[in-house]
Symmetry: C2
Subunit: 485 residues, 2 copies
């Protein structure tokens, strides 16, 4: 398992380099090199010898609890892999590659029709995949399970259903008030100063620069080659320093999780993150619960002023309100903490209906645009700012989007729990001291790797299953303060 | 072969990252990841199926000349690999690892004795290796052959023998004259300006930044992951801009060679460099023959002044003389174009005698210090500035050093040939125009990969075998001008 991890992490280094430093002409051979490493790790992980070894170890009474769990999870992964014939893997890989290119082209031409045919092929293959993987109730469950073990349509319908109306009412309240001014965020902010400020933020939140680094890429991401080499990236918009700042906090949250995973479990399931939802909870806890709080802003405003003296005519409270401004919009990645979830719910509904056959690929744009009108009250002017905006489907990632909202829900629940446990927390955040948060996350999340499912982890850490009430309370409380209701 | 290359180049990416961007704590797992990739590529290349395939193809009459040569060279490499038992490979790898660490420790303690025992074990294994590999006359030939196919003790004894006395006489002539002033080189030169000037130099010499990049590392090097992704590194000494500048030209010369290799031969011998001597000829041609010429200096002095106005009180001719100053010294990597070869000859003699058993490891320091006195007239004050200065032996690289001098010899012969072919060359260099040089190198060196041995390549390109006379004439001409004799 360690050797397989070595190959997978080597592949991750090549991908990281591709996104950060690769010269343009190097792309073709790099693609080939990555495909070869991917093939090798796949061959290693589907080797019959490994299967036999896992069978033997499954019945070994001398294993301790962690070892048993490692064997159990590895066997699960191994058996799942065996369900895919190499013919199916090839078909899927070809369809994905085609879809990706036609998605790029469709965006260029700003026309979903260019993407339609290849996406249909891909959706049919994903339907086939649900049959291979198996499911109890809804075929989409099989795909959800790939990103969030145990997640089902039944559960998400309930969760999102309970979230939708309260969020809509909250949004209406907010829209009844005057919006905070955020025009001062759109000035020129020097690149080098932004970079330094971002590094300061990462240091402040406890990112270990001896076990990681930050670089620039077109889209921010976090990757890791062990818990002792975790790389984050950011991008800098010289007309808006908030984009870089909160992307640093977001990726930093992901990175702290990876740096906190147990190194002695390198290559084994217990050395891996729990689920995408839990991973996202880590980024959102730091980006939002901590980073968009009044205490954080008060602590960091003097430093902000040092780097960005152009903010001298505003105060910490104004910046706090501005970075929390709510504004229904077309683009998911640019949306605020509240309306974000409508973007996710729309994608969830599209995916669910595509997979169970109640929505045809050709009808996506109409469905999408109608939902945006209903949920967010915005008119989608074209496909590029509509159903072509995200890369996920072109990659064959169906079932991924819901984990973004799950991340916010887990984050709010975890954060409330931390606040209850450490009543002095707010005052400490005001001093830039996050020791209690680190302590809690290490004890309740990081150390376990994949030991528990996200549901089990949440229960163990907070004493209850995931509740929508924490996110609703957190958002209501925040916006009531800012908008005054 | 392409897949094996993919794995080897992936390993090279991990090594490059290790030297440029790896955070310190990431080193341990990175070492493990590189070892795994190395093991995988070794397994792939020693697979019996490959051997059988090569045998079949060796007798295939339908192959064209290039294909035949690829099969022939791959079979050679394959058969050589088969000579090493896995037990021997493991012994060698362990001994190398030990030697490397005791070399580090010996340097810290400034005491060769700390290195002596592990080096002895390594030398014995290298002697065993000469038996495995086989040789006709001298056991050291087997090791030389690894870096420079066809090189022998007999040939190098002749070449170095013919070089030693003339170089010594030239050095005496120079030492009879007053040395040029180079004190103005040792001022403060801003890091960012140096970096930009270095990039300008790489651009000027034709380095393709679409197919490569430059980064910072502790020791400058060139590596490549295909002919379309060639990476150079440099280091910056703020008290001496010449170190960075001529390192850029040196590594740039290596890089142009790699960028010029045929991409359609990726993974095959004809897509690889000819020999280390030829590779070094490319770096030295650009660093010395071009870069340390008066024409180059005249062309670039205005740009130099732009970045480094502190040079305003000197002229192009003074900088030219300063960067060509001859000064016998203790450290190979800091030596000038003339005395450099004495450093190499001393190492050659040590290695030759270690391998044929006429010198014992414990006697290296005495032998070394005596030779430095005789050849260079300098007293070696300690082992760190003596026989512990180079990393090569600790890596088990015996037979490598001579290729440095071969590089200068080939470079001088090639350059003279280019000058004869293009009489307007000097005037063009004065304008920063290197088209003729590119053209000649592409036609006579780059395009062939490993098609010919270095000896054959030299003959084909210049009409004669390697002659010491070109280097001697080049150096005599240069120093006569500068020192006035």
């Amino acid at each position: 398992m360690r050797k397989i991890a070595d190959v997978k992490f080597a592949l991750a280094v090549l991908q990281w380099d591709q996104e950060t430093y690769l010269p343009p002409k190097g792309a073709a051979f790099r693609g080939q090199q990555m495909a070869t490493l991917s093939e090798i790790s796949h061959q290693m992980f589907t080797d019959e010898k490994l299967g036999k070894l896992l069978d033997q170890l499954s019945n070994d009474p001398s294993l301790n609890e962690k070892q048993r769990r490692n064997i159990e999870l590895t066997s699960e992964d191994y058996n799942k892999n065996q369900k895919y014939s190499s013919a199916f893997v090839r078909k899927l890989s070809e369809a994905t590659s085609k879809s990706y290119h036609s998605w790029i082209e469709a965006r260029k031409q700003n026309d979903f029709k260019v993407f339609e045919k290849d996406l249909s092929v891909l959706v049919d293959l994903k339907k086939e995949e649900t049959q291979l993987l198996g499911f109890k109730q809804h075929p989409y469950d099989a795909l959800l399970n790939e990103f969030e073990k145990g997640a089902t349509v039944q559960w998400l319908d309930g969760l999102f259903g309970n979230l939708r109306e309260p969020l809509k009412k909250l949004l209406e309240k907010i829209q009844g008030k005057s919006a905070p001014d955020d025009s001062f965020l759109h000035q020129h902010f020097n690149k080098d100063d932004q970079w330094k400020f971002g590094i300061d933020m990462l240091k402040q939140m406890g990112f270990d620069f001896e076990a990681g680094r930050q670089d620039i890429s077109e889209h921010p991401f976090t990757t890791n080659f062990s818990a002792e080499d975790v790389r984050v990236t950011t991008r800098i918009d010289e007309n808006d320093f908030t984009s870089m700042t909160w992307s640093c906090l977001h990726e930093g949250g992901h990175a702290l999780y990876e740096q906190g995973l147990p190194t002695d479990q390198y290559g084994l399931p217990l050395g891996e993150y729990c689920s995408l939802g839990i991973h996202e909870s880590q980024s959102r806890l730091w980006e939002n619960c901590v980073g968009r709080s009044m205490e954080f802003m008060q602590h960091n405003f003097p430093l902000m002023l040092q780097y960005f003296p152009q903010l001298k005519n505003v105060g910490a409270e104004q910046v706090y309100a501005a970075v929390n401004k709510v504004q229904p919009s077309l683009i998911r990645t640019e949306s605020d903490e509240l309306t974000y979830h409508f973007h996710v719910m729309i994608r969830y509904e599209v995916e669910k209906q595509l997979i169970d056959g109640t929505l045809a690929v050709k009808d996506i744009p109409g469905f999408w645009n109608e939902k945006y009108k209903t949920y967010l009250g915005v008119n989608v002017p074209d496909d590029k700012r509509g159903c072509l905006q995200d890369i996920h489907w072109s990659h064959g990632s169906f079932g991924y989007f819901p984990t973004y909202s799950l991340g916010s829900l887990y984050a709010a629940q975890f954060f409330k729990h931390i606040q209850k446990k450490y009543p002095g927390l707010t005052a400490l955040i005001n001093k830039g001291n996050y020791n209690d948060i680190h302590q809690w996350l290490q004890t309740n999340v990081y150390q376990y790797g994949r030991m528990y499912t996200s549901g089990e982890l949440c229960n163990k850490a907070t004493g209850e299953t995931l509740q929508q009430s924490y996110l609703l309370a957190y958002l209501t409380d925040k916006y009531a303060g800012i908008y005054g209701f």
